[in-house]
Symmetry: C2
Subunit: 402 residues, 2 copies
Amino acid sequence: MGEFLQVVSYQEAIARLKGKLKPPGEEQCPLIQCRGRVLSRAIVSPEDMPGFNRSSVDGYAVNANDSFGASESLPAFFQCIGEVAMGEVPAFSLNTGACAWIPTGGMLPAGSDAAVMVEYTEKLGEDTILVYRPVSPGENVMRRGEDISSGEELFAAGHMLRPQDIGLLASLGISWVPVYQAYSIGIISSGDEIIPIEVAPRPGQVRDVNSYSLAAAVEEKGHKARIYPLVRDNAAELKAMVETSLAQNDITLMSGGSSVGIADLTLDVLLSFAGAELLFHGLAVKPGKPTLGVSIEDKLVIGLPGHPVSALMMFNVISHQLFPRRKDFYINARLTQNIASQPGRDDFVPVCLSEAAGQWEACPLLGKSGLMSILSRADGYVHINAVEQGLKGGEICRVYPF
Amino acid sequence: MGEFLQVVSYQEAIARLKGKLKPPGEEQCPLIQCRGRVLSRAIVSPEDMPGFNRSSVDGYAVNANDSFGASESLPAFFQCIGEVAMGEVPAFSLNTGACAWIPTGGMLPAGSDAAVMVEYTEKLGEDTILVYRPVSPGENVMRRGEDISSGEELFAAGHMLRPQDIGLLASLGISWVPVYQAYSIGIISSGDEIIPIEVAPRPGQVRDVNSYSLAAAVEEKGHKARIYPLVRDNAAELKAMVETSLAQNDITLMSGGSSVGIADLTLDVLLSFAGAELLFHGLAVKPGKPTLGVSIEDKLVIGLPGHPVSALMMFNVISHQLFPRRKDFYINARLTQNIASQPGRDDFVPVCLSEAAGQWEACPLLGKSGLMSILSRADGYVHINAVEQGLKGGEICRVYPF
């Protein structure tokens, strides 16, 4: 039997991959296409927002001083000298005792510092307005720069842009945004028994699952997947395909037969490239022990287990840390039963979530590790740390949704 | 002042929208492009998986009976009569006392019903194998149909496809998948003060935020956004643009000036179409009271508040229920402070999440409702039901991430 050469913890494996992963390129993206993209630089506001003192109500712009003491029984009298039009700079200014109609969003005229809601006013004749409540300076007004001030950092580099972030950038006139380029990720499935999914399998053959599930998982993380034709368990064919993928991609994901002989074949092929460096071979995790990492010059190759469930779980676990995109919203859930685990090994156990009395419950999906149906019944996974001996039923655990 | 004609609860509003929304169309999608798409029909497995009795270890296929009683001190003797090749149907069958080498994933030969792990065997001479542990029938074997049986429902209609689901479909050879067509959603921003984002605003003008944030939010929900040119507050222009959008889309989102006169203009324009029916005008929610819904024949128009924060919050709240896509993974979090709320109204309050002692804390983002910066600092929102008077600091609340 082949032996694992460099079994490491998964944290160590991820650290080694991170150390070799070249930083992503940068590009300018039109704002309208930025959803889900990750900022390559911090964004600083180029201007104040609002850019002018803006009324937040429909009513009358006034100088607050003039309203002091106004009450239901003794309203203040104002002379209405005009109307502020939306989107226009008022052509007039207010002297003592004057007011002007202002719509929500309108610009306060010079001489005013507050707005009175129309509900607390009454029109008396052509241009006399009664005000029944005093306002304080700044009341019902969004002051220039109150929301965002010029020079303020809006987002740090690494932030993933959501619809609301795109709205904020639009409001500041930022129409092109510096974002990281997606990594290009090649996917090579190999194995004498693996056939294209359109082909009817003879007994003993299985369809190519990994090309599909890994490509979708790569795209889910915002990167570009490139699927290569299936390769048989043959060193020359495998080497040619890896060579092509190395030339065309930043990262290559391989998934081959899970039996040890085949894994050795993959490793031999990878290490035969000039500049190849073995990062790890064997992980202290379940599932996914046969995972391997090799760097070849500035490219990375990750050899995933052949079994589709293990391959996808390992890709999720690795990519979660290699390509972090936003706050890591795990879900706290009560575990429905004990999960045993071997100390010294990190376990990742798929779970199904359900609601019970306003709380999430996580039901571990155990059973034979080969069951394909497990992953599609899973809503996420729990991580049992290498120092733990398992998790107890009834405990609150963290579920990472996938 | 204009009056709201049909103020309803937001649940009622969503029910009325759902009642008028035409069911989505259906299309066949190539499996490789199905990520995030929603199944329009249940998917039933066309075959057993695995399709043959498959070894889950590297070792020897045997008849379990022949291993009974085997132990370290008294191993069972087997005659190795061949080797199972991956992807091939074994050309031989096993008689009593015979075994065959089998790799993980290999097909069990006729006459065998279990596999012995290689670790518990020893090779003695050319074709004699010692087995040091007994196996029971079915041990280390995935039986035909054990994972999935032919005719079993894999997914219900309405399920959103994730990478693991795509993997499962690939494993069964399902290369085209029936999915719902995306809705086509037109977006019309209006207002005399609204300018394209590339233009430098004069004082009093504001840039068009809603076209950008709503388009991104529509795409986040898996639908297609079509942005129309900005319209001024003019009935004829507005009507012409709505007419275009009605012809080209299933749903039209409008967001106009938040002042009452402008909202009336929108409503008048919408109700002037033949077949227009007012579904609601005014919602008992905060923010988003001025939201309105109109059906025009089989098309829906949703008039959102003009303010970008309210518009996006309302779109999130409505679309969350109008276009549900998968399990609703709210996050339980401890509220950092009281949130007051008015009974009789549903409040949606943006919150920021942070971790404290392994638990999520939700900090409400209060302050002036007009602040654009609030939404991009928010990680989600909490919903305060109309029957509640608010939420108390320290309570566990549900946060809906966005």
